[in-house]
Symmetry: C2
Subunit: 108 residues, 2 copies
């Protein structure tokens, strides 16, 4: 599964952060989180999943545990299972991040 | 674990593709593969791990199973467990890709 022009698959919504699935294997899931300026994904924890972010476009404020940093394209954020994390787009541009979950979310 | 200026951590070698570990949780491992022009990681298979590439810099020729594409910054490649995959840097620039394994490699 090769995803070129990944940013062209981003979906933004004025109401809340957009989510797009790229693909998944047995052991990991890959998708996009898409933030309009001002949108955020508030601090939350995945008890049994590691989560990795890779910033594809724009910049954001990332927090993992006690660590906070301004991140931009190419930066990588790893939130191990059980560690609270959040992502916020202070603007003025859109923010698109690749997210990876391992293991993949359980399908409903 | 927040990794900014990820590309500054790349390590290249004239002999073969450079490998750098960024970090790992219980369920996934993140690192860099660094290709000088002309270097490649020949077709191989991980029987029990999904592997994800994210191109950070440069461009390369990626193959997963029967699919081949020229990839560049921001492109995402998912090689599910059991599917042969390869990456080659045709040049003329350096190629740096983030790699994610789930589950992480077993430590020696």
């Amino acid at each position: 599964m090769i995803f070129t022009h990944t940013l062209s698959k981003a979906q933004f919504s004025p109401e809340k952060m957009g989510k797009v699935t790229l693909g998944a294997g047995e052991h990991l899931y890959a998708g996009l989180n898409c933030f309009e300026p001002g949108q955020e994904h508030k601090a939350h924890t995945h008890a049994d999943q590691d989560k990795l972010y890779v910033v594809l476009e724009g910049s954001g404020e990332a927090t993992v545990g006690e660590e906070t940093a301004i991140v931009s394209a190419g930066d990588v954020i790893l939130a191990p299972a059980g560690v609270p994390h959040s992502m916020r787009n202070p603007g003025p541009h859109r923010l698109t991040v690749l997210i990876v979950f391992a293991p993949p979310p359980i399908k409903a």
